[in-house]
Amino acid sequence: MAQNYTSTEMMTIAAARALRGSDVCFVGIGMPSAACNLARLTHAPDITLIYESGTIGTKPSVLPLSIGDGELCDTALTTVSVPEMFRYWLQGGRITVGFLGGAQIDRFANLNTTVVGGTYDKPKVRLPGGGGAPEIATSCGEVFITMSQSKRGFVDKIDFVTSLGHGEGGDHRARLGLKTKGPTKLITDLCVFEPDETSKEMTVVSIHPGVTREQIDANTGWKVKYASEVAETPPPTARELDVLRELHARTARAHGDQA
C-alpha cells in the first residue's frame, strides 16, 4: 500500500500527538523542535515551549537551527538567563516534559550522546556531549525520546550513559532518589515504546502503519518486547501533514535566505 508520507513524518507526528496543551515542554533541537511546534500549531495551541537558551513560551514561525536563534527570543513571552533557566525552571520542577534524542539508546532508555567506541579518554568517535540532557532526564516530570531506529543506535549496551533513563530497570530511578518518571515514551520511525510497569524495559505499544514486527526486530540490538495488546498508530491526518510540511518549507526558506 503506497503511503503519502515518510517514516520520519510519521515519527514527528506521533511525537507531537503525545504532547498536551497543558504541558510545559523543554525542547531540544531537530526532531523534538519539529514535533513540539507541530503540536503547538495543531492540537495543543496553549502548550508552553521552553528552549534552554532561556526563552519561555516561545512561538517560532520557523524552526530554529540552533537552540538560541533570534526567532525564539522574538516570539517568547520572556527570556531569562541560562543559570536561571537551569536553576529555577528546570531544577525547580516547572517542566512537565523534556524531549531528548541520542546517538545510542538501550532497552531502559538510557541515552548516549558523548562517545562511541574506545574509552571515554580515547574515544573512537567523539560526539557533542550531554548539554542540558543529564538534568533534563532527571528534573522534568517525564521524558519523551525520539530517534530513528537502527541496530547502530538501538544497542544492547550503550558506550556511555550521558543521561539516565530507567538505569538498570525496575526501581533504579527511585533508588537514586528520583521522583520524576523518566522516559515514558520512545517514539521511533517504526513504532512507539513505553516502559513496562515493573521492569521498566521499553516495550512496543503501537506500530506505525505498514511496519512489521520483523522490521522492528531487525532494527533493534536487543530482543524487543511487545505489549500484550499492540495498537496500530493512526496514520497522519491531512492536516498534520500539511502543517508539518508548511513548517519545514518556511524553515528552509528562512535559513536559505541567509546564505
Partner: protein, 285 residues
C-alpha cells in the same frame, strides 16, 4: 573605568599565554571577532571555558591556542560535529587537548558561583550520569538541613572573560539584550574582561529598569567591533548566519582546508571584515 581601545589592544592587555579564558554567549552574541584576534596574536596554552564551544573554539583549538577545554556541549548546533574539536580529542591534532566535560546545568551554576564569590556550585544534577564517573571535578555534598545528596563542582573563576554586547555608552557601561546567556555571570566571575560592542551611544535611552547592564567599573576594556558576533548574531542588529554554520562543516572537516580558510579569513584579515557580514544580515527595521 574601562578603556575604549582597539580590539588588538584589548586582547593584548587582557589575555596572556596559559590563561583560563571564557568567551561566552549562548548562541547569541558569541564574540567571534575577539576569538579571531586571540588567534592572530598566537596566544598559547589557553584553558578555554565555554558551555557550547561552537565555531569560535573549533577555530581556536584547530589553530593550536588551547591546552584544555572546559565545556558542556561541543557540537555545531543543528549541523553536527565540531571537526577541529573532534580531531584534537580523537587524534591529538594539532596537539593533545585535555577536556573537562560538564552538563549545561553544571557550568551555568559554576559561572553563577564564580560571580557570587563562592568556592563551588551546588545543584541537583548528574544523577545516574556517566560524567560523574570520568570527571574528578564532579563531587557530591550532603545538605546539612535535609540530608539530600547534591552535586558540587568548583566555581568558575576565569582569568579573563570575553563577551560581545549590543551597546556601550560613553562612560563604558554595557547593555546586553535578548538571549543573555551567562555573559553577566562570566564577566563578574572573571578577573579581567574584554567586551566588544556593536556601537557606542551617548545614552542608552528608554529601556526597561531591569535591562541587563554591566556597570563600567566591572569591565576592563571595550572595543567597538560592528558585526563582531558574526556568524552568531546581535539581537536588533543582524541575524544568525545559519548558512555559514552549515558551510563550516565542510570547511573544518579537512585539516588543510581549515588552515587555508583560517589564513585567508583570520590571519590575513581583521575586525573590519565583520562589519560586512553585519550589513549583509542586517535585521529588518
Amino acid at each position: 573605568m574601562p578603556q575604549f581601545v582597539s580590539l588588538a589592544a584589548a586582547v593584548e592587555s587582557a589575555i596572556r599565554d596559559g590563561d583560563t579564558v571564557a568567551m561566552e554567549g549562548f548562541t547569541h552574541l558569541i564574540p567571534h571577532a575577539a576569538g579571531h584576534e586571540v588567534i592572530r596574536q598566537g596566544k598559547k596554552r589557553l584553558t578555554l571555558v565555554r558551555m557550547t564551544p561552537d565555531l569560535i573554539y573549533d577555530q581556536l583549538i584547530g589553530m593550536g591556542c588551547a591546552e584544555k577545554l572546559v565545556f558542556s556541549w561541543g557540537g555545531n548546533p543543528g549541523v553536527g560535529s565540531l571537526h577541529r574539536l573532534r580531531d584534537a580529542v580523537e587524534n591529538g591534532w594539532p596537539h593533545p587537548l585535555a577536556i573537562e566535560e560538564h552538563s549545561h546545568a553544571a557550568l551555568a551554576n559554576a559561572y553563577e558561583a564564580g560571580a557570587a564569590g563562592l568556592p563551588c556550585a551546588i545543584f541537583r544534577g548528574y544523577i545516574g550520569a556517566g560524567l560523574a564517573k570520568v570527571n574528578p571535578n564532579i563531587k557530591s555534598i550532603v545538605c546539612p538541613f535535609s540530608g539530600e545528596t547534591l552535586a558540587a563542582i568548583p566555581a568558575l573563576r576565569p582569568d579573563a572573560a570575553i563577551i560581545h554586547a549590543q551597546k556601550a555608552d560613553r562612560a563604558g557601561n554595557i547593555l546586553i539584550e535578548g538571549i543573555v546567556g551567562v555573559q553577566k555571570q562570566a564577566v563578574l566571575a572573571a578577573k579581567r574582561s574584554v567586551v566588544t560592542v556593536e556601537e557606542v551611544v551617548e545614552d542608552f535611552g528608554p529601556r526597561s529598569p531591569n535591562a541587563v547592564i554591566l556597570p563600567s567599573w566591572t569591565v576592563t576594556a571595550i572595543a567597538v567591533v560592528p558585526g563582531g558576533a558574526h556568524p552568531s548574531y546581535a539581537h536588533g542588529y543582524y541575524k544568525r548566519d545559519n548558512a555559514y554554520y552549515k558551510a563550516w562543516d565542510a570547511i573544518a572537516r579537512d585539516r588543510d582546508g581549515f588552515l587555508a580558510w583560517m589564513k585567508a579569513n583570520v590571519l590575513e584579515s581583521g575586525p573590519q571584515a565583520f562589519a560586512v557580514h553585519a550589513r549583509r544580515l542586517a535585521a529588518a527595521e
